[in-house]
Amino acid sequence: MLGLVVVGASWGGLQALGRVLSDLPREFDLPVVIAQHRHPGSQEGTLAQLLQKQIDRPVLEAEDKLRIEPRHVYVAPPDYHLLVERGFFALSVDDRVRYARPSIDVLFESAADAYGDGVIGIILTGANDDGARGLARIKELGGVALIQDPAAAVRRAMPDAAIAATVADAILPLEDIGLYVHELWVRSSGARETA
C-alpha cells in the first residue's frame, strides 16, 4: 500500500514543484516530502513559504523527529540532510553527498528503506545527477519511479541521470505527473478497500 511520495528537484525546481503539487486533487492524502537543492545560506522557511502560496495543503519545513501527517507537504531544511524513518523524520548534518545537502539520494534511499514498496519517487528538473541512485533504490525495493520528461525540463541532466540509473515506471511531461500520482493512489486505496 502506498504511504509516501518523495520528490527531488534542483535547478528550475520551484516552479516544477508548484505545478506538480497544485495538480494533486484535494482528496489526495499521501504525505509529500521534498528535497530541493538550495544555497546553504538560503533563508529557512522560504521554500516552504513560496510553495504554500501556490497550494492549499499545509507546507512545513521538516524538523527532527517530526511526525509525518497525511496530506502535508514537507521540505528539507537548508544545509541538512532529511531522512525518513517509519512515520517521522530524522535529520543529519553529515557531509554533502555529491556536493548537495540536502541530498536527494539520502532522502530517497531512507524512504525506500523505511517504506519499501509504499514509496513513489519523483525526479524533476535539475543540472546534476543527484537522485539517480535514490530512485534506483526505491525501484529496487518495489516502489514506483517517476521521472520528468527531460525534453521539456528546464535542466535535463537530473532526469537523464535518473533514466540511465533505473527502469522508470513512467517518464512524463510535468503537467501529467500530479494526475498520474493521483491515479496510482486511487488504485492503491481501491485495492485496499476491496481486499
Binding site: 527532527d64 523527529k65 531522512l83 525495493l141 513512467a170
Partner: protein, 292 residues
C-alpha cells in the same frame, strides 16, 4: 481521470523484490551494535537508525567489504577498524559560527544574563572537532566575559578532542567562516584570531585558556557539574527518541535555575518530557531557559 495521463502500471507487488533483504540487514545491524557494545563499551544501540545505517554502510564500503556481518567480524577482531568506525559515528560535521543568527541571539539574549554572574560555566556537549567552542570563545572574548567563564567541551571520542585541542582548521574554510563571523555580529577582523600556516589556520591559544576538553559519553555518563549554559546543537538528531529523552533529562538536571539550553535550528524540546521545565528565550534560535 484524464486519458492523456495514460494508465499507470500497478506498483510492483511485494512478490517482485528480493524477500526479507532488509529484515536481514536489520538483524545484522543490531548484532553489530550489540557486539560493539559488549566488546568495546560504546553504545550506539539507541542511535537513529536511518543515519546510523548510512554511516555504517560508508564504513563497509571504505573497508572494501560488502555486508554488515563482514564489518562486524572485522570490527570485533581489529581494534583499528573499530576506531575508524567510531570516527564515522561520532564526527559531527560543523562549521565556525554555523547558523550566524544563533550567535546574534546569544549576544542579545544570553550575554546580558551572564554579565550578572560573577562566574559562568558553559558545557558544549558533543563538541566534535571544536568549531563551536572556538566560536563561542571568540564571542565571549569580544563581550569581555571570557575571563570569568569556563567552557567544558566534551565528546565521546578522544581522537576528535585531540583535534579540537589543536585548534587548526582548514584554510579553505576561512572564507566561509569569515562571512559567518560577520553575520554573527563579530566585532573585529576574523583573521586576527588565527595564523595562516601551510597546513591550516592555527587559532590563538588564548581562546582555549579557559576551555577544558574532556571525554564524556552522553549515552552512558552522568552529569559532572552545574552549568549556566548548555549548548548541544545537531548532536541529538543522531539519537532516537528514547535516548533523546534521557539526554534531555541529563541536561535539565545539569542546568542551574535560569540556565540556558541551546539546540540546533531544527531540534526541539517540544517532544521531550522536560518541555514544561523551560521557557522559550528565543523560539526560532532554539534557546530555552530553565525556569524551575
Amino acid at each position: 481521470m484524464t486519458s492523456s495521463v495514460g494508465a499507470p502500471r500497478e506498483p510492483a507487488g511485494t512478490g517482485e523484490r528480493p524477500p526479507a533483504r532488509d529484515d536481514l540487514e536489520e538483524i545484522e545491524l543490531s548484532l553489530l551494535l550489540e557486539g560493539v557494545y559488549r566488546q568495546y563499551g560504546f553504545d550506539f544501540r539507541e542511535y537513529a537508525p536511518a543515519s546510523l545505517r548510512r554511516r555504517v554502510w560508508r564504513r563497509i564500503h571504505a573497508e572494501g567489504l560488502t555486508t554488515v556481518s563482514a564489518l562486524q567480524d572485522k570490527l570485533l577482531h581489529d581494534q583499528a577498524c573499530m576506531e575508524r568506525l567510531l570516527l564515522d559515528l561520532s564526527i559531527n560535521v560543523t562549521a565556525m559560527f554555523r547558523d550566524p543568527t544563533f550567535y546574534v541571539a546569544f549576544r542579545d539574549k544570553v550575554v546580558p544574563a551572564l554579565r550578572t554572574y560573577p562566574f559562568t560555566r558553559i558545557w558544549v556537549a558533543g563538541c566534535s572537532t571544536g568549531e563551536e567552542v572556538y566560536s563561542l570563545a571568540i564571542l565571549l572574548q569580544e563581550e569581555k566575559l571570557y575571563d570569568r567563564t569556563r567552557i567544558y567541551a566534551t565528546d565521546i571520542n578522544e581522537a576528535v578532542l585531540e583535534r579540537a585541542r589543536g585548534g587548526v582548521f582548514p584554510l579553505d574554510k576561512m572564507r566561509e567562516y569569515t562571512q559567518n563571523y560577520i553575520k554573527a555580529g563579530g566585532k573585529q577582523a576574523f583573521s586576527e584570531y588565527y595564523l595562516a600556516k601551510y597546513d591550516g589556520a592555527q587559532f590563538q591559544r588564548s581562546l582555549t585558556e579557559n576551555v577544558v576538553f574532556a571525554q564524556h559519553n552522553l549515552v552512558s555518563d552522568r552529569s559532572f557539574n552545574e552549568f549556566n549554559v548548555i549548548i548541544c546543537r545537531n548532536v541529538m538528531i543522531y539519537f532516537d527518541r528514547t535516548l533523546q529523552d534521557r539526554v534531555h533529562r541529563l541536561f535539565y538536571e545539569s542546568l542551574a535555575t535560569f540556565g540556558v539550553l541551546g539546540l540546533g535550528h531544527k531540534e526541539s524540546i517540544r517532544f521531550s518530557p522536560h518541555e514544561g521545565g523551560y521557557e522559550e528565550l528565543d523560539p526560532s534560535e532554539k534557546l530555552y531557559r530553565r525556569i524551575d
